[in-house]
Symmetry: D2
Subunit: 295 residues, 4 copies
């Protein structure tokens, strides 16, 4: 199929390359053009401007946050450049509020819209093993399903209203962050009692917590290796902010999310940015002064 | 082998029955004798008094908490009734402080001691699929290893000092409770945005959180079925208290554990006791008044 | 002096009436005209439109929140209607971000700007006993000082940059809310041990906490009388949000503010709005199920 | 009157000296005898052993914690040395549990017991300006009232059951700690926005928070002067522990107390002990990396 792909960060590049490998004709665009080169070498057409990437049947986008989605599709007018009936599959992790707004903007223009945020880090994207959440009109989701399957190991249908996929993504990222924090604090406790974090986490992730969300981060915590970032601290902080905003909008107290917000903020206030959000383990250890105490 | 088994609650009974099935000669004792009957029918010898159950090579015990362990082994003098060189395998989830104290009491009497707390609920115990943490002298742990394998799918060696196994157990239970709380809050958020808890948790436990610690509790939360208790609220509250005590002893701030303590306490203050600690999901929903709001 | 007054809620009306009593010529405007009547009967001139209220030397405004300030002064263009050199004294509790933005908008138009948020509830405003924070050019603050003294018992100069007054106001309201929460939890604890909230709070506010911020709220908590609102729950929730936003902007973890946010949200989610934020005491009591337990 | 005084730390010494100044005949005892010297020079009789200090009409005690009270009065048998009908006025801040137990021990021996914990730091004790909480039989409280008035500016009667005074003391100390934390976080926020802690706290403690509990600690926070300790960090940590224990006993969630516990623990884990618990302000500033950022 002839498709466009907007946004070629680590995630977007990996996803677009899987579309290429599956035999689709992919036209890519990225604000900073350097990112298009590796995809060009895999056979992608490179669009000179964003509107040249929205000429096929479907356009995928993987942008960083609300602001980027708003800039490209609304402010810069990309939606206006799309042909009626064209499908836009939006992979970004965006707020529930923007999810609703942008769905309405598509509807007004006779465009089809699928919210399809993903779970998985760049290595999972490269391997085509993403978990893809998909919400939108069933017929439209069905149409793009084969394309999604080229990028993910599983597609989770989440109903008609696009924002449903975004809520699940936001709530899910909150759960991941909670998992990191629980490993962070539990490992600090274990260390203080003479059990190394690596030993402790090996038991946990080999038994009750033998799940992807734990195993990857446990490795980073055990090795105290927070850089380069798999999932960068500022993005994690943004995502907890999305959970708190969604909670605010529907008046749902989330004490655990509030706690995570503060701990991420403590890490951020030190000035580091290009670190993984697993740095929460360093925050927990620092609070207990474990290094100073030789524990 | 000829062994004793002290403490026949849901967990102990299941574990003792697996020792019987593995062909060992098991003498059982329980403070309330009714619990011995099913085991007798499986071939166990029933001891009239606790000291008659500590006559073989090894005695296992699975008691409810610090108080019960202290009562049986120290106050009532069971340690004094044991022959020098005998091995005591203590499966209870006890405090780090008691773990140290009771190890010393064994050493003083020339008794061997293995701390062997377990991960797994009664159904896992019945199926012989427990994860067993084991700390103590390597030679002694090796001696009881075949017996432990009759009860668990995996034995995790944790070094010489017995309390190391208890710390891992305590920190692990804290992680389980954190997992429940994160599902509780995230599900409340999803519900408030129109995504049912069952739908939401199906995605999460089918993807990133495809691990035993999540799947069992997710089912309870999705079905709002907290009774009968798989792991009872008061026990969970006790275990978070053990984590906070261990943190106090080594001066490790655990903000997440403090939050869990309060939420468990909120559930307890309503007067319910025989409910699973997954009732944390009800606390989160009640705080958001989801039922009153028809969400 | 000839002055204008924009915004005649409970606070603004009381403040404007004190300007009248001090002999100033006051022209008032309020979006909903009914609120102007009592002031007209005290001698105020009533402006038909907002721009007719900004014709004197100084205009005061007391609007509810960022949105109202933005609507009136920026979107509806009131700043453009003001004469160069005129002074605007903004009493609203607004975000630090808007404080900076609106100060710049004044400067661009050659208008003088004083940020002057106040501490005190409507009864203090009526009695002219407000504490008024004032930040802006010293000469300009000096010019309006006699007017401020007509409304407050004390004016606190806070330097040149207007947002400094807003930060102090936001941080101060956070402290008030923390004071309420500490009375709420401490009273719940006292009640559970048989000491009535009234008895307990009488001791505390008669000794260590003999301060206005405590005495007023203690009365509400002791009498469980949360309506009518002296300071309404949604405003309090907004103000804690301002503290968290200011903390976000400068990366300052505020765990206590996060806790307050959740507890206010719990109160709000029940659907009540026209209650005092001292309702935090009801939240604390409900969590402990004190009423159900007859405590 | 002829009275005894047990326990001559900073508080006890100041209190005993006021009894002397009021003309009473005071026999003092302290575990470490050096502390008796200044009082001897004021005219106190020095008892060689504790039982020699309990020979008059009333004995006062001001010991550090549960353990010290238990050791002196129960384990070392001082209660058994007291004459039937003698009154013991216990000023220590002890747990509700011990408060109940020790009241019963007095009753069994025909001794009178008044729980009389105090609010006030050593300087207030020296000046006779303590707030004294008093619970016990009204006739007995009346008998010791003139003596209490020699030590405090106000005596607060709290009813018959002695533990009532202890609950109020524990809940009150929790409120003080919450006040410190709120100043700590609010000051960090103000600093991050360019308003010095001293300027900010001057406004707050000169207006809404013009109360002893704030003014003393505000001074320490503004000057970042945490040593010597007016109220030492480990004692503060102990007292928050007493609040959490009392909450545990009656199942009252206290999220704010949990937060304080963790922050005090963070301060303690750094190894400092002889600092005031106002050091919470340093914890808040460190979390935000204010010094590193030059804020």
């Amino acid at each position: 199929m002839k498709v466009g792909f907007i946004g070629l960060g680590a995630m977007g590049s990996a996803m677009a390359s899987n579309l290429l490998k599956a035999g689709h004709e992919v036209t890519v665009w990225n604000r900073s053009p350097a990112a298009t080169e590796p995809l060009a070498s895999l056979g992608a057409k490179v669009a000179k401007s964003a509107d040249r990437a929205v000429l096929g049947d479907v356009v995928f986008s993987m942008l960083a946050n609300d602001q980027a989605v708003r800039d490209v599709f609304l402010t810069d007018g990309l939606l206006d450049a799309m042909d009626k009936g064209m499908v836009h599959v939006n992979h970004a992790t965006i707020s529930v509020a923007l999810a609703r707004e942008i769905a309405a903007e598509h509807a007004q223009r006779g465009l089809e819209y699928v919210a399809a945020p993903v779970f998985g880090r760049p290595d999972a994207a490269a391997a085509g093993r993403l978990n893809i959440l998909a919400a939108g009109k069933p017929a439209v989701v069905a149409r793009v399903h084969p394309l999604l399957e080229a990028m993910g190991s599983r597609v989770w249908p989440l109903g008609n209203a696009p924002e449903r996929a975004n809520v699940v993504k936001i709530a899910g990222n909150f759960m991941i962050c909670a998992a990191i924090e629980s490993m962070a604090e539990a490992s600090a406790l274990a260390r203080a009692h003479g059990v190394g974090a690596a030993d402790f986490l090996e038991v946990m992730t080999g038994s009750l917590f033998a799940a992807p969300a734990y195993q990857g981060y446990a490795k980073l915590i055990a090795e105290q290796r927070y850089s380069p970032a798999g999932f960068a601290l500022p993005l994690g902080y943004k995502d907890i902010g999305l959970a708190l905003s969604a909670a605010d909008a529907t008046r749902v107290p989330l004490p655990l999310a509030g706690l995570l917000r503060d701990n991420l903020l403590e890490a951020l206030s030190s000035g580091v940015e290009d670190v993984d959000w697993a740095i929460l383990a360093q925050v927990a250890a620092r609070r207990a002064h474990l290094d100073e105490r030789g524990l």
